[in-house]
Symmetry: C2
Subunit: 210 residues, 2 copies
DNA sequence: AAATACAGTGTACACATGTACGCTTAAATT
DNA sequence: AATTTAAGCGTACATGTGTACACTGTATTT
């Protein structure tokens, strides 16, 4: 009942997952990975792959799930830092940029599969990003006392901007340039926050005038 | 000298380009296209491909160039419409959305190869988008009398938002939902414009106070 | 009119891919 | 202790791939 066997199976399953993740890079997308390559990297015979996943697609969806997990950890981390005080926007961007630096491949996976070729993948990625967006919306709505729709539009725009900046950051080696990018991103988020606050206030005034 | 031969060659070259373009879809990315498939679609023997391109990569870069051309046509069209009066932001978004509807595959190519696997492709796409961004920056700077850096940040954010919305639009069939997306996008662009105008004004005030 | 260049063809090859199938070996169940 | 289950392996095969090479026929040049 202890499950020596199940335990071992889980272990090689992880081997496959890690093998796939480690092969991702700027030059290598998940869809360009072959079942045989992944199996080889994991130290398995090609046919052993099937004991764990029916498909490369199934492995891919598992990776997307992992990426979503990483994203949620990021949020928690950012929230902790924010609780200690400081500019919310700045802390968020900096936390995000750290994630990119340490988990570039996971992030690349999300970015690529978002506009990728498999409907299942796209749906999975979009779900993770939407979850992220909704969390941010709730936070904004509460923290800044915003109109619900306005909060959503702000959250949506902010996530778009940050993800795009993250994508750019992946291609930048120079530390100074990266910082410049961060600063610009922060400024752009402030633009959005400013516009959103104003619209929300205007809507509220209109409601009260009734 | 008339070049019956060169003319014919150009013709089949186009055949290859069009074959590749027509095979792109939501389910099919350029990188998943094989040389043989493209040649077959064009009605050529596989080896004839080499008379026109050394590589699939070379064909791909040609497609990116075409996409850039389309983008520039878009800008011209938007400018013409703007000259006739109306909200600049609204007209721009609507024009862009029309492009997406009529040239979805070309646009998909840009989106995908931007975070794609080939450095050459990425560079080419980024160049096209940067050109687009710079044009917008110049326009904003002049039309709204903005600080140069602020104009750039606004242009950059706006392009990001619009491209992201375009990517979303590709997956939406429902006409009503698409309109909703357009409206949200317009609103988001206004957020950004508002924040940018404010920062620019603040910077100018600071300069004059000296 | 003769010679040349060259777009397009067909054959051929080495290679990588996914996966079907039967085997081995050790854990789990009876 | 005997039986069953299942993870992992090796072999094998059909299929798709890029491309080398020798060819044909015709527009172009000489």
């Amino acid at each position: 009942m202890s499950g020596v066997r199940a335990q071992q199976k889980e272990k090689t399953r992880r081997l496959l997952i890690d093998a796939a993740l480690s092969q991702l890079s700027a030059e290598r997308s998940f869809s360009s990975l072959s079942l045989r390559e992944v199996a080889k990297e994991a130290g398995l015979a090609p046919t052993s792959f099937y004991r764990h996943f029916t498909d490369m697609d199934e492995l891919g969806l598992t990776l997307v799930d992992e990426a979503g997990l990483t994203l949620r950890q990021l949020m928690r981390q950012a929230r902790q830092r924010i609780a200690k005080g400081g500019s919310v926007i700045q802390i968020s961007v900096e936390t995000f940029m750290e994630l990119i630096e340490s988990n570039g491949n996971v992030f690349r996976l999300l970015l690529r599969e978002r506009s990728g070729t498999s409907a299942a993948f796209r749906a999975a990625v979009i779900r993770e990003i939407r979850y992220f967006t909704m969390e941010l919306r709730d936070y904004l709505q509460q923290a800044n006392d915003l109109d619900a729709e306005v909060a959503f539009m702000q959250a949506n725009a902010a996530v778009t901007i940050v993800f795009s900046a993250g994508s750019d950051a992946l291609d930048i080696d120079d530390k100074y340039e990266r910082e410049l990018l961060s600063k610009q991103t922060i400024q752009q988020l402030r633009f959005i926050a400013r516009g959103a606050a104003e619209l929300s206030a205007r809507r509220k005034a209109a409601r009260n005038a009734k």
